[in-house]
Symmetry: D5
Subunit: 149 residues, 10 copies
């Protein structure tokens, strides 16, 4: 029996490489954005029954695994407090270098509160540029105001 979502993620990752599937294809079949679909397949989001079946078919998962895809996962999994992979580290570096800037400017515009990481979406695109193409990432999160009571 499968005892964690992690085992399902490993099955998906192994099947993806073995079968040469792309995330873009998976997203098209599931019918949602490639960002959300990838996060879901990698164990960060919960799928509904219909989505889980599609994903199960694509990767050839057993029935138990399909059921696990519908269970809310334990999210977040940086293997170390500070990430070591260079691509992921650059994001941590952005947080480290621009944290006070983001804090100051968001508060200057919105007052006290946060940008939600739950009511949130992300879009990753290639931005053609003659000096070398760029990665363009748009993050959009609802602003949530601190309540006074």
């Amino acid at each position: 029996m499968i005892s964690s979502r992690n085992e399902v993620t490993e099955m998906i990752v192994a099947a993806k490489v073995a079968k040469g599937i792309t995330w873009a294809d998976v997203a098209t079949k599931v019918g949602f954005s490639k960002e959300w679909t990838t996060a879901a397949c990698l164990g960060q989001m919960t799928l509904d029954e219909q989505q889980a079946k599609v994903v199960g078919d694509i990767f050839g998962l057993p029935e138990d695994a399909v059921r696990w895809l519908q269970v809310v996962p334990y999210k977040g999994a940086l293997p170390t407090a500070v990430p070591t992979d260079p691509l992921i580290y650059r994001w941590y570096e952005v947080v480290s270098v621009y944290d006070s800037t983001m804090k100051e400017l968001i508060h200057e515009e919105f007052g006290d509160g946060i940008m939600s990481a739950i009511d949130f979406s992300m879009d990753i695109q290639r931005e053609p540029d003659p000096k070398g193409d760029r990665v363009r990432v748009v993050l959009s999160g609802k602003f949530l105001t601190y309540e006074t009571w």
Copy 2:
């Protein structure tokens, strides 16, 4: 004598609150984006002589401080490996929850490499929304490919 950029940042922050200056105003006077200007005033970027003088005038800084603004700072300053301020933490959470997603999708589109955090810009805007306004952040970084040699 001033022995670190940090002392200059404290002078700027103290003057900003005492005089009620906004970052938007500073950016207008300096002539660059509010994101870059704020990062520079908060000790993360290097100013040229002209920019440093404008910032010195706005905040009433001594000559020594104006000179320090032109010195490359020791960047990055998360007080702890995992940030505790809720607004900043949400960004760390985005890294934690979506790290594998970003890694997979950027590599699927561009191959092996990273999104630069140096040849990089950031734009923070209010996104009006009837269900509650959103914070929209656009990050743009040049894609850098791993070299084979």
Copy 3:
């Protein structure tokens, strides 16, 4: 010049002991709950101009400090990742022992999402009990659902 909210918090704490003021009294004068008011005086919440003036009068703060009370603070300040004070540690222990329980039951009731710590309130009361009075804490936070996009 004052260069951080922390200095204001120290002034408030020093004045509170020197003058023998209670948080309940401060809350009454500010006109909000004792929980929010205490958090605000201890540097975790932003006050509006009117509230800041009342707090400034109560603790005899200089004008600069009153202005700092209106600046969004860098929140959260556990001196160590795991708190050492026994009263505060017990809360960390509750998180440690009951984390999986809270996760399972909130997801069983609401699906995937979180209980907000921003649109959030807390109420602390004495609960008389013949076997020894109890501390009763009610936490109420809006449930936020993970979006699919």
Copy 4:
């Protein structure tokens, strides 16, 4: 042979997903609150013989596992000092942001001591709200006074 309570918890979790059992049902059969029952099934509480048999029947556990449910477990199991799952992190954030507030107000009401995390109960409910339902958590712990000797 089973050599830790953790193995039993994994059996329970695997069976729960495979059989589609809810914690509410388990609690009804065990005859205690859903909060205590869930904590017990997840390896944080000790069951008596009768309770262990009921749980063993529900999840189809072997006899050895039923015996392990009656052994006092090594409690607490945050995989990292600072939790990464967003739902659980929000609780850590509450401790981080409101720790001084809770300390001040509980001491103002009760004097020196702590709120027990042992003689303690928790109740999690849905609080209907037109602006979005809320999670309402009531924590009740006996106040314990520091002794002078």
Copy 5:
């Protein structure tokens, strides 16, 4: 103005060395055990008005400091997670080497629960021994049972 209990502890420690006072003398004057009195003077316990005045007289403290002695302190202050002083480290070592033993034997005798560190007392004595005198420490804490609800 004094803004933390820590400053008071430093005054006491400085005066103790300067004046050559012993903890045993302080305890006699305060009228409680040397263990509790020392802990209180070192910023871990709260004194009542009468006790605070006696301590203030002994160490020549200003009035503000006497008031701070009556404020519940932020307790616990290991400068690092693992203590470096050899005498204190030996206690940490006892926890590390005998933790499972203490857990097993206390649970075998009492069932599930803990030994309180609040309703707790400690007595430190010299135990004469021809092979070299021993330190004998008696710890006594109320057993607290986990509640079922």
Copy 6:
């Protein structure tokens, strides 16, 4: 082949639960205190050949395991620098809150040195008390003086 003492400890723990053996019984058969015997069975002490055979018989261990019981173990095994189990944490808390007190009083009585954790014994007893029984722990360690050379 068995390659660590840890494997033997797991065998003992698994057999203890499966067979319902108590540590008190084991101690009686081994002929030493329940504290030392439990520590030895849990992999913290070295047994001589005779003791190892008795323990091997009680728990039904293979010959290799009996040999491992006679090998000096790698002692100490807190899974994290700060323990998470509430019973064990209370001991860490005692170290954290009373460390300076123990240091001051032992030095006041004995001068510079430490209480040994090697030439050391521990005795855990139930202390009946009408207000709730107490755990009474007596620790006795030889005082070791720092040498001057």
Copy 7:
């Protein structure tokens, strides 16, 4: 099925020792520098189909493993934040002792920016020296300037 690049690295390392292959030979067959080739075989670089087949032949890898060599790996894998192996630690020591020197001199020559670790190459050679041969390492990375926007 193989579920991580790490498994492939272990296969390569095991085969290398069992068959007595040198990295220099592998590099010659792959047709790139020994530095890049070794990094690639050790799971830090992505191989193209042709390179992967050559490596697969050399080490006798299964087809699945050859496919994994073409997947961008999770890079970086210091087992601890501070490395314990003496050869690797010396590099960390160079960073620790000369970090401010490198920062000052690179900025003095190039202004604000970094030396890329992506558009980067490394060459390791033996430098004969009568007082004992030396290791000569040449690192070459493109300088990347911080952008102003």
Copy 8:
């Protein structure tokens, strides 16, 4: 009186910015490489009397500071285990990504031992390149063989 080398380093850094001195100039006057001279001025190397006087003249240091320059410093000063400044982090990243590569290739060439970080020199140069200038760093350290005894 000056009680640490660190105070001297701060004086040097403050004077350098105030007077607009370059490291290249300092090195010319001291008569050694710019790498060694900068490291020495930044508190990582010991100067002899003659060198210390020259440095003292350049930066206008008091006599006490000149004496401190001749005291062996406590070297190494990464403010955190993992550096946060992007320029310095890239070096840590090189260690993280290429550590196993460096270890394998140095051992393949030299056998068991290390590259010394003591009998060591470093040379930093601009490497003109039409695709963007590069930073070229040459490290040279004596190879030290592990002894057998």
Copy 9:
């Protein structure tokens, strides 16, 4: 296939206990000091072909393992930054208590540099003493001087 030196160390340790072999015997057969031989068998040193065969015979290792003994190992393996085993901790304590003393005295005698841990040997002997035998450890390391360039 064996994929790490660690597996070989486990085989050696398991065989040592199962067969009752002493390190002194191994050293005699290998023909080097007991200190170096033990370190080599425990995975910290590299053996040559002849030595590896002798060790392989003594412990009955497979051919693959004998080959691994000749591969330079990843050295150093404290399971935690601060060791928990009391015998090993005492060494860490010596470093902690006497670090500044060793630094001052070695520099006073030799100037700036280090005591090598590579060109290094260690000798552990019993030192008979009527007040209780002592462990006498002699460490001898070549002094390496910092170079000026």
Copy 10:
């Protein structure tokens, strides 16, 4: 008033550099080994009245400081868990690389117990060697046996 031994250590260190005193001279005047005397002056050992006066005279300390020298200090002061200074790090490396060797050989010779770091002495000498002088350190600590009770 002086409130910690640390302040006294700083006075001694500052005076040592300012006056050009050597530890060897101090030891001669105090009449004990240079190792113990240096440790004592650096805040790790307790001096008696006579010794404290001699040290006070040598370094020109105020009376309060002389009294503090007679107070048992909080020992051990590695600024980080893993030391960064290369000379001190080499000692940590010795612990890391040879820990299992020391453990095995001391236990093989003495049985279960430790080498005391309290009833302990250290002797540091220059060992002339044609291939480069060596640092020879002799550590001698009483063996302490684990008691059975």
